[in-house]
Amino acid sequence: MNSPLYERYLIGGGTLAVFLLAWEFCADSGAVDPLFISSPSRVALAGATLIVDPDFWKDVRVSASEFIFGYVAATVIGVPLGLAMGSSRRLSYILGPFVDMLNAVPRVTLLPLLIIWLGIGIWSKVAVVFLGAVIPIVISALSGVKTNEARFLTMAKSFSASRGKIFGSIILPGTVPYIFTGLKYAAGRALLGVVVGELYAATAGVGHMIADAGNMFQTDTLFFGVFVFTATGLVVVALLDRLERRFERWRPKVGAAS
């Protein structure tokens, strides 16, 4: 109880170390064939060779552009659409069924269709990333507008603030936390889209590399590919957290403000 933070890192790091050592031992002692489970040292070695391999960087470039195009398009379209649907009742009535419908389908189901429409190149993956990410963004922006403080709105209206003024100074700032929640969730969905799209049909990309490595029993490369995705997920969420703090700096620290 004296140093909980210290204890936390000690226990967390200790377990992680034990896990990695056990993994290494299993593989090296021959208890389990390293062909199947690889081992931390082999994965590190595979990583070291891949990092100097231009083909690997080509895969990274392809995956990154799929992720970035799809995710940025989802943000650019999803946030305004969600805000508009939240502000206009009629628009939300018209578009609501479509959003609900798309939300009910795992968007990766549409992958075979997207491949028929866009081919096995980068654009079918961009589309699946976009579809995966846009729905959570729209829904969170929409619910953000809906949960605005009614007191603020009443007050602004009593002082006869214009619609634009109300939107800019009350609705938008109040929605920021919701938008970021949606963006973070959408980042996971986007990454999922990249992986599934590339596992399913692709000619390049880190997901494609993983699938290839699996087919050729190169477990070391496979694990390194998975690790690349893990690192990407962590980095993207950390970046969004920073961005969110930047947007939230003006907000007074209150216990009740969520």
Binding site: T15, P106, V108, P112, L113, L199, T230, L234
Partner: protein
Amino acid sequence: MAAEGRSGVVTAETRAAAPMRLYLAHERAILGAIGIVLFLVLWEGFERGWWADMLHPLLGPQAMRLAFKPIFFSSPTRIVREAFRMVFVTGEIWKDLGWSSLEFMLGVSFALAIGIPLGLAAGWYRRFSYAVEPFLAALNATPQVAFLPLLVLWMGTGLASRVLIIVLLAVLPIAISALGAVRTVDVRLIRVARSFSAGDWLLFRSIIVPSAVPFLLAGVRLAVGRGMIGIVVGEIYGSAAGIGMMINQAGSRFETDKVFVGVLAIAAAGVALVEVIRCVERRVEVWRPPVGT
């Protein structure tokens, strides 16, 4: 007199506005239906060449681009016909639905059996949570489907690898919500129970579990969605049966109608499952006094 005249005016106004009021009362349903119908007509029109014919005088031969080939976009009537055929005439969809449901049930059951105890234990024992949190965080940041080639390498493309990918996808939301549920239990309740010298087991049964259920169900709802992703991804990656396999096969044969039937079947199953969980949630919540906070 004035009052009479006024009321007369009011009745006239209300009579005139009756359709308007009917519209306002059902605005959501009406606008929603209009949107869907317009979308379906637009879609059907592309496939049947309505728009191409209509715009032909204006655009000339360019207009023919608006007549899509059915193998690309199919059309609502084609999809309905195909669905009817697959469900009632040949019945071929039932076998795939059966396999997919089996995978889903097994996967989600295992995920519950692992996720709930893990999450509750991590929420209750601080040191245990320190030990497992790094793993949970790492797994949570990974798109878990990236493990699929590894699972296939270990277990082949049979049922086991598909069940395992569903477990892998569904276990995290369950474990994380169980962990959060224990952490948010009202401390006052625990203190009261402790003061009356309740043991760990009694505390767990009478305080932790009842207050954790709503959180857990929210986690289960998320897990159901993840499980659906698992079905589809596991089956399109390599499988001999199931809805995902059917979609994959139909896609590679350009049978777009069939692909849409599969997509709709999965959407319907997802909506139905989420509704069932919502029902359970309402059921479970009946005893709880409604509080503002």
